[in-house]
Amino acid sequence: MDVLEEITIILAEILDMEGLEITPETYLIRELGAESIDLLELSVAINSRFNIEVNDDELFLRTLRIHLRAAEMEGRDAAGYLAEKYPVLTVSRVGEILADMGGGPVLRMKDIISYITCYGKN
């Protein structure tokens, strides 16, 4: 079972949604309606299942806008600044996020998968 399948099972239980169909592109908040309490439950489930230390702020990109403000105040390039703060994200993903922020919370399943793949020991 791959990481996407495992997270889908965990999320289906947390969100109480049977037959949940999720792809790496699925937005957790925009599409699935995940709330902050659901994300906290997901973070401890990831810790339990994958045996990795979970920093919720990094995993769920919670401090994204704070980092963007900080980059602006420091006169730094936003993409470079975010890449430093979120080492699990690729340069292209950071670019996608910056282009997508007007649509609402940007967190997608692939960000969760990247975090687990990067820090996971399995």
Binding site: L40, E41, V44, N47, S48, V54, D56, D57
Partner: protein, 152 residues
């Protein structure tokens, strides 16, 4: 105009635990004497308090802990008996902001109630004030471990 109200729960400081026993990184034990007429709500609240104390212990009392949710809860089919309950909690998972525990209440080796409790932690702030809460919970934890109650 703000108005001050007093609520009397009849419970000293709303600390329901009688005692906290063995406490380690992955687990905690405690006890609660449920008197007649027994109330399941008191058992659930006692378990929540035990879990929250474990979370505070794990964060060295440097964060405010509170219960978010109870899930996978197994409740008794009928009313619960009074008696001396043994409480236990096992840490199942944790992140920087949340913890889950399997918490269980037993009476004479029979599990009366168990459930998975989700707790969150937040930094102290102007609402959850460090100068009040940190010392309050440290003292409460220490007193309950000494088996002499919260008013020690």
């Amino acid at each position: 105009m703000s108005k001050r109200i007093s609520i009397n729960t009849g419970l000293s400081g709303f600390v329901l635990l009688d005692r906290i026993g063995e406490t380690a990184a992955g687990n905690i034990t405690g006890s609660k004497h449920i008197v007649s007429p027994p109330s399941l709500a008191l058992v659930i609240e006692s378990l929540a308090q035990l879990g929250a104390y474990h979370v505070r212990y794990l964060t060295n009392f440097e964060k405010h802990a509170f219960l978010l949710k109870i899930k996978s809860c197994r409740l008794p089919a009928s009313t619960i008996p009074a008696g001396f309950y043994t409480l236990s909690g096992e840490l199942q998972g944790r992140s920087a902001s949340a913890f889950t525990h399997l918490l269980r209440a037993k009476l004479a080796d029979e599990t009366i109630m168990e459930g998975v409790f989700l707790f969150a932690v937040v930094a102290y702030d102007s609402t959850f004030r460090k100068e009040i809460l940190e010392s309050h919970y440290r003292r409460g934890f220490s007193c309950l471990q000494k088996d002499i109650g919260i008013d020690c």
